[in-house]
Amino acid sequence: MPRITINGKDLEFTKGQTILQVALDNEIEIPHYCYHPGLSIVANCRICLAEVWAPNPKTNQLEAIPKLLPTCQTPAGEHQVVYTDSPKAIANQKAVMEYLLINHPVDCAVCDQAGECHLQDYSYQYGRSQARFAEEKIKQPKKDVGKHVLLYSDRCIMCTRCVRFTREVTGTGELMVTGRGATEQIDVFPGVPVDNELSANVIDICPVGALLDKDFLFQQRVWLLTKTPSIDGITASGDNISIEHNKGIIYRIKPRVNMDVNKWWITDEVRYGWKHVHSDQRITMPQVKGEEPYQSSEAPLAYEAAYALVNRRLAEAGRMALLVSPMLSCEDAYLLATYVRSIDPDAILAMGPVPRHGQDKTFPGSSAGAGFKLYAEKAPNARGVRRVLSKMSDSVLDFEAFTKALQKESSINAVVLTGNYPSDWATGALLAALDAGESRQNGRFVALIDTLNTKLVDRADVVIPGATWTEKAGVFENANGRLQAFERAITPIDYTKSESQIALDLAAASAASDLGLQHAIYNPAVVRQTIASTLGLPEFIQNVHYPAVLGEVESDMALIEL
């Protein structure tokens, strides 16, 4: 392998890599704005320039290349010696920073990017603390450039990452550069806003606070947010996300880089797909038909009553059916099915409706970040639920077969339904099927574990509030059969519980049922082990992808001894 020396470190590289890529791979920091691994290289910000010495092909003597070279664009060469900390390179970094800040408003105090802004970081590391520019700064307008995106032109440093993104990744090309010199700006054509399924990614790639998220605008300062690695819980993509929350409230979702799944991007649908978590339509308290609604101080009582009734009616039912929603994790599916099967070993297992909107869509495009796929299937775990249930029952019914079975078989005396969909999923067919069959005295017993208020809540005999994927840990299997674990971001909002916990609690409250789990508190790792051993699914131990452990971020502030 060829070798190169960067800042005194002797490194290996593969041919075709640029100097900056070699440095980044080896954790050497070279400041850069316009370079993004997923986009084409334009070398227009000039902060990555370095002093490069290369062997003269004739004499094989190391000679300095007279001008500084952009490391993001220059291919690494055998036996080159690169300095980004030489006086010349440092002088360039300082000059670039000073030029960039000439017309920058430096309004970090009110800028949403503050805290995760490259301009701030590099200004601190490579810039000067004092401005020498005494003239008036140019003021540029704030623009509304798309459904989710705001552009604060005067904070822009013209790195054109956003322009390249719309050209190379989405292929929609809404953004462009207008004007020249001091009047140069990013803009959209009149009447053609940034409107594509990936539009909000431009906010992430903007290295400064020029492109901002309308939804997150002024909501929180970024340093107050805790980031929890998670998985897309809305569609089948399995996109890696990080849920950012503070004091039990989610404020935004950002993509997590995973080159095997979503690369650097996520769709807007996933990014804003958490709104139902804090919706005022959430079911928060168990409800028992015929009983007064429980007050918030009565939560334990309400759970006790609900569990007792479910256990009693299921024990009386004889034959029963369980509908596991594809929005639930594999652990939820396993525990719920085990619970129901412990009461009725022949209980019907079925999977809830798997919503599909439109067609799968692959974005064309030309750069490394291209080829992103948007999935039409809007449920995160249809395959995972099926994988678990099909080991427990010979025929796992799909939703249609389930409603038909309810219509036909009047011997099914009790159903346990799970929902957890981000929108109303109660179809007329389901409601009709629940009450179909021979007329009976009390009708079919319906226990509903769901998150949002739907028509089903009125029909159900017992309603138990479930938790969305942000409030629990588990495993989802995405459209490509990849099992990925996600962590709990926020504690379940009062007084909901995760479906797994509900299954465990129900089993604990019931005399008949024993899940064979020696614990009362849901622990996803233990449940995965049990799935692997009892169902013969070793992939739940071997093939689950866990979020990469993020390295500790060390402060670059000097420690002051007091």
Binding site: A109, F218, Q219, Q220, R221
Partner: protein, 185 residues
């Protein structure tokens, strides 16, 4: 590393002797200290030997005394907060959350919003300080980039409930209106 014997202090309680267990000598010893202080301070007009001033609060207040006689440092005293107004009477705060970030007691709660004024990006829709949680350290004042939050020399804040002691934006602005004459910005 083992702990050397010299660093170990034996704190097993010593048995009290019979005379000590009556506690009478200790009572008289304590009374002696009290009486000593009484006699030492007779005729000193509220000033102790060690220059510690006695103030008959609430009839008499430190506010009224010169600093050299045990009065309050009104310039720098850290009492109840106020939110300053700008020249146009609007709240000066730009909702940057710096004070909330700096606050060691986590008692500042801000909800920001786009400001209704063209010269400003952001302003606080809600600004609450829990005056009961606050430790009056002054970090918020220190952190504010626009001198919007300040601590005033006023310390006699009372309320009948905890909720009342969470000062909201209007109350903090009212404190400004009441204190601006005494403590200019």
């Amino acid at each position: 590393m083992p702990i050397p014997d010299s660093d170990i202090i034996d704190v097993t309680p010593r048995r009290v002797s019979r005379s000590e267990s009556l506690f009478l000598p200790a009572v008289f010893k304590g009374l002696g200290t009290t009486l000593r202080h009484v006699f030492q301070n007779v005729g000193r007009d509220g000033k102790t030997k060690k220059n510690i001033w006695v103030v008959q609060y609430p009839e008499e207040k430190r506010d009224d005394r010169p600093v050299t006689e045990g009065g309050q440092e009104r310039e720098t005293f850290r009492g109840v907060h106020r939110l300053n107004r700008d020249e146009d009477g609007r709240v000066r705060c730009v909702a940057c959350f710096m004070c909330a970030t700096a606050c060691p007691a986590n008692c500042i709660h801000i909800v920001a919003e786009e400001s209704p004024w063209p010269d400003r990006e952001k302003y606080p829709k809600q600004f609450d300080i829990d005056e009961l949680r606050c430790i009056y350290c002054g970090m918020c004042e220190e952190a504010c980039p626009v001198d919007a939050i300040e601590l005033t020399p006023f310390y006699e804040i009372t309320g009948l409930s905890r909720q009342e002691m969470i000062f909201d934006k209007s109350k903090l602005l009212e404190v400004y209106d009441r204190t601006i004459d005494e403590k200019p910005m």
